[in-house]
Subunit: 336 residues, 2 copies
Amino acid sequence: MRTGIPATMQAIGFDEPGGPDVLRAESLAVPQPAEGEVLIRVAYAGVNRPDVIQRMGRYPAPPGASPIPGLEIAGAVVAQGEGVTPDSIGQHVCALVTGGGYAEYCIAKIAHCLPVPEGMSLAEAAALPETLFTVWHNVFERGWACEGETLLVHGGTSGIGTMAIKLGKLFGLTVIVTCGSDEKCAAAVTIGADHAINYKSADFVEEVKRITEGKGAQLVLDMVSGDYVPRNLACLAEDGRHVTIAVLGGMKAELNMAQIMARRLTLTGSTLRARPDEFKALLCDEIFGTVWPHVEDGSLRPEMDRVFPLREAGAAHAHMEAGSHIGKIVLETGNG
Amino acid sequence: MRTGIPATMQAIGFDEPGGPDVLRAESLAVPQPAEGEVLIRVAYAGVNRPDVIQRMGRYPAPPGASPIPGLEIAGAVVAQGEGVTPDSIGQHVCALVTGGGYAEYCIAKIAHCLPVPEGMSLAEAAALPETLFTVWHNVFERGWACEGETLLVHGGTSGIGTMAIKLGKLFGLTVIVTCGSDEKCAAAVTIGADHAINYKSADFVEEVKRITEGKGAQLVLDMVSGDYVPRNLACLAEDGRHVTIAVLGGMKAELNMAQIMARRLTLTGSTLRARPDEFKALLCDEIFGTVWPHVEDGSLRPEMDRVFPLREAGAAHAHMEAGSHIGKIVLETGNG
């Protein structure tokens, strides 16, 4: 029996895939940390698009992961397994997790945790890991973005989009985003985007050409896919890279391979959740070295949209699906 | 007036695009080398698929390049422009050129020349540059091939295919090729391929899966494109790379972007002819350092098919288009 840790906790799950209303509270045993793991009393859990897709039944939890949604959390470490040194009990951390974040307690690998610096709220900390790990890996590692290059991101006011703007600007990129309204475009520019294109009133291909004086962008971070892909490729400069992190607009894309060859374009992509623990630990290490100093000095904060109580996770999902949010949505357990 | 160099030379050109019979001899002024260039008395010129496509009118010479076909030559340096040090006159070299190879004399950048070692014929030397530069760049640079990985190449007995086999084996790859007959498969294995699949009698996707015990290949060097692309991707292991260097089977490919994302595949490609001189010079330098020692010690030789007299360039093209060749076809000027 662990002092001060209850035997059970409230968590949010679902019995059958469906709309936001399938999410419902349940009482579960508080999990035990194994070797290299910590138990975190969750203060806040970030809501991400993959949680919504999981709830719809189209993105099942990978083998070994909790069936409870939730890929990022922040809170206090309250227990630890073997091999966790130095003692982490009582520390405030945020963590990337493979699931189980929508709960009062959640297990994380200690190697996937980052310390919450002074002056940063736990709500903000919970909103960082998923988009930070995803954008860092796909823009700067997989996409080879270099200082002085131009990045095009769709969904400029989404969690990913706002993180891409902020990270891009911190690391010397020109950032062009697309958004679905003039209001969102204005918000994206306020957040830091160099250019925001309303894709409903303008052809983003033409706009990117105009903005880059015909040269094109060096990188597209794509979460739409489908028939956006050939249009994205038309936005790319020679030697440009196209990195797919979601297929919200469809999976099938018809490509002109001669264009890929003649203009030396590169298409790739990745998902984060299914990667091995070792990969995530390396990525976490790299982010701690390269990005975390900007979190510590206050120059990087997630763009926050709204906080919902944990028990209203369904409302949080409905809010994300309505699409009017700007930045991150988080759930509050009341344990903060 | 340059001693021993005639004012005019025989070259092979064409007036209108068409079949092999449009190629005809013409008398042209012998060109003058500019700064950084040498004039080579051509002994042999390699024949490549892009020459055939150029003759068909579908691959025009890039701006500034000779309209005469021919992308690789070997012979003696007979004149040099300013800035060529040390003196190269009289040296036997092979060179990558942007055109003009089908002629008795041809200009090359000195930075795109490689010395022909003792014991190597000029016919062999002329058969190296185009496929060596193409395969090296696309397999080891663009495609990141590493020792111990598996490479799949279509057209295993083509100039590119035979070079890919030889380079792959020299640098520690397992090489799987596809060919259109059992005879060609046997030839590819004799040349060094670890596995050769007759694509007419077997499904190469199934065969690659079987050979790699379900893991797939790390790299596909693709010159077919079109509807081969999704099949190639099905041959790839996770994190696999697909590098397109020709689109002989068509330009359009329908891709599943979710597969690219979930399996972290990478598609890219390149063409050699249109790259800047500086790029080719860097590539030439790298090849001199990494591959040329194997040419000098005799462990790398091009696979030779047939030698045609320069004036029979049309017959050489017809021979390539008939598709029964194994390895490289070269043209002989009689200046060897």
